[in-house]
């Protein structure tokens, strides 16, 4: 499988009253085709700017942006035929109904009413399709934006903060939608700051800070990390001293256990060291980190 999206040394800067501000400062990122890819970052980290550059709303980005093998912006028309996108807030004519808004968009690509009805049903807007967009709740507006993105039956779905304004069942629906989309062999590229949601929905993630990608990979790899923490339980009170003497950072963890920071590839050495000292373990458990922990650890001091 090739790459669905590639950013190579992409730079975007804006002139402000206080001088130039780098929105993207050499972003390098590859999004493989297939699966759900999460794009994480704090507010102002450059997520939306990167997405806007990929879908051609932003012109004048330096560096290389490829979408589905097409160079952007030259190959934008060919790429966008196969891309469905929701960027920032969904924007439609407030006085037109949801259906009317989709009809006008669909007309430019010859999309008929059957597909529109099916898409509205898929995002749960079938009943309210004939209400004015202005009368929609934030969640319904978001659903209409997702419907517009899905209407082209795209190979690549780009969603910028799709869970904005959605209630918990709505968030679950979006997650199910993204997973079902990926299960069909397509790619979903989703930016979000709801880390728990990304952890559940995504196969891979990238974390961006100050316009640069600071980490990227499988969610499981990022959660495991290289500097894992293990919970150690041993009946012998010397265990803490022995491990400290061995050079490992150790902290007590209440009920007689201790937390040891150790590279996951060297975790067996903890057992070995304690055994040499005649101390036998009753528990050695890796402590699961959340994506939030990883995110905060990586972005601390950068945001």
């Amino acid at each position: 499988m090739g790459e669905a999206i590639e950013f190579e040394d992409v730079r975007v800067s804006y002139r402000t009253r206080r001088g130039r501000v780098d929105a993207l400062a050499g972003l390098d990122l590859s999004v493989p085709a297939g699966g759900v890819f999460g794009f994480l970052g704090a507010n102002g980290a450059g997520k939306t700017t990167a997405i806007r550059a990929a879908v051609g709303l932003l012109r004048g980005a330096r560096g290389r942006v490829n979408v589905l093998g097409e160079s952007i912006p030259h190959g934008l028309p060919a790429a966008m035929d196969r891309v469905g996108a929701l960027v920032e807030q969904p924007s439609f004519f407030p006085n037109f109904t949801g259906r009317r808004n989709l009809e006008l968009l669909g007309r430019t690509r010859g999309i008929g009413p059957k597909r529109i009805d099916a898409t509205l049903e898929r995002v749960g807007l079938g009943v309210r399709a004939d209400s004015r967009f202005a009368a929609y709740s934030l969640g319904m507006k978001q659903r209409l934006g997702i419907a517009a993105a899905l209407m082209k039956d795209p190979e690549l779905l780009i969603l910028d903060e799709p869970a904005n304004g959605l209630d918990p069942p709505g968030i679950l629906e979006v997650r199910t939608l993204m997973r079902s989309f990926a299960a069909e062999g397509r790619t979903v590229f989703v930016s979000s700051h709801i880390l728990a949601e990304v952890e559940h929905a995504c196969d891979r993630v990238a974390i961006v800070a100050h316009g640069k990608c600071i980490a990227s990979g499988r969610v499981s790899d990022l959660l495991q990390g290289t500097n894992a923490h293990y919970r150690v339980r041993a009946d012998d009170p010397r265990a803490r001293e022995v491990l400290t003497a061995g050079g490992w950072p150790v902290e007590p963890d209440g009920d007689g256990t201790i937390i040891v920071a150790v590279d996951s590839s060297r975790s067996h050495e903890v057992t070995e060291t304690l055994a040499h000292a005649g101390i036998y373990l009753s528990e050695l458990t890796p402590i699961a980190r959340s994506l939030e922990d990883v995110f905060l650890e990586l972005t601390q001091g950068r945001t």
């Binding site: 879908v55 012109r59 004048g60 439609f92 004519f93 007309r107 430019t108 010859g110 934006g145 993105a149």
Partner: protein, 299 residues
């Protein structure tokens, strides 16, 4: 063509377009209705200066002060008390269409500017560009839709004016001079005015596309009207601005300059001059705005 079709639907689905038509229809109905209800024949008196008496003449008089001689009763002058104000489609339609056309020209500016201004305002242009990223195609379709839409609206209003005047003439006025030539001339006049309205709307749209605000397009077009009178075309350095303003060309097309007086008399002497001026402005402004739009960040 699909893009143009969608843009035309978007144009006509807007409230401001339908509202403009409804308001125009109401104004036409009220103006023609009141005019027809109040219309009356010309009344005149015969004034005999030798006796100082006036007598009702019973004649329709168009030139007050004309002398008359009556056999055996001396001479005098006609004094017109009131001219003929009955609705007369054959006599008045041309001037009414010209007047309506100028009002429609300004309505066209507002419709053209607000079309894309509203899209920037609600951000729907972003959604559209995610569907059709070819910006020149989007721009061309929008400019064409604005021009066609505004022209069609103008034609509909003028048709309404003609219909209302015809009904008014039938019910309480004069139906006279409705020949095939008259109809052909009025239809040509209506299309000429509609073309000017469409061109004006497209200009206002193109300016707004760059400025991203409806007010910019409207001000740029509306402000030309007072400037036409404030800037003397014969005087340097600003006369040249006045001479070549787009509005001058549009007015020359909407109101036939063959019989023009005042500011148009000295500058645009032929309708061809007005057409050339407008075509050049359209080509420059629509191309420049398309160029800027194709490179701009759209939010």
């Amino acid at each position: 063509m699909r893009q143009l079709d969608a843009e035309l639907r978007r144009f006509f689905a807007r409230r401001i377009v339908r509202g403009t038509f409804i308001v125009a229809a109401l104004i036409v109905a009220i103006a023609v209705g009141v005019g027809t209800a109040n219309g009356h024949k010309a009344t005149s008196l015969k004034y005999d200066p030798s006796t100082g008496t006036v007598i009702p003449s019973g004649e329709s008089v168009s030139d007050p002060g004309r002398s008359f001689v009556e056999s055996g009763n001396g001479s005098g002058t006609f004094v017109v008390l009131q001219s003929d104000t009955r609705t007369n489609i054959g006599k008045d339609l041309r001037k009414v269409l010209e007047g309506t056309g100028i009002a429609l020209l300004f309505a066209g500016f507002a419709l053209g500017a607000s079309f894309v201004g509203a899209e920037f305002n609600v951000g729907s242009l972003t959604t559209q560009l995610l569907f059709e990223p070819r910006r020149w195609r989007v721009h061309g379709a929008k400019a064409a839709a604005v021009a066609i839409g505004a022209a069609a609206l103008a034609l509909a209003v003028m048709l309404l004016v003609a219909l209302a005047m015809y009904i008014g003439s039938l019910l309480g006025g004069v139906v006279d001079g409705i020949t095939a030539t008259f109809v052909v001339h009025r239809v040509a006049e209506a299309f000429r005015i509609a073309a000017a309205v469409g061109a004006g709307a497209a200009l206002a749209y193109a300016i707004t596309l760059v400025a991203k605000r409806s007010s910019a397009g409207m001000i740029a077009m509306f402000l030309q009207y007072p400037l036409l009178y404030l800037l003397d075309p014969a005087k340097k350095p600003f006369g040249v601005l006045s001479h070549y303003m787009p509005l001058r060309g549009l007015l020359a097309i909407a109101a036939d300059p063959a019989g023009a007086t005042g500011v148009n008399e000295r500058t645009i002497h032929t309708m061809a001059g007005g057409v050339v001026l407008v075509v050049v402005w359209l080509a420059v402004i629509v191309s420049a705005s398309g160029f800027a739009f194709s490179r701009a960040e759209v939010r």
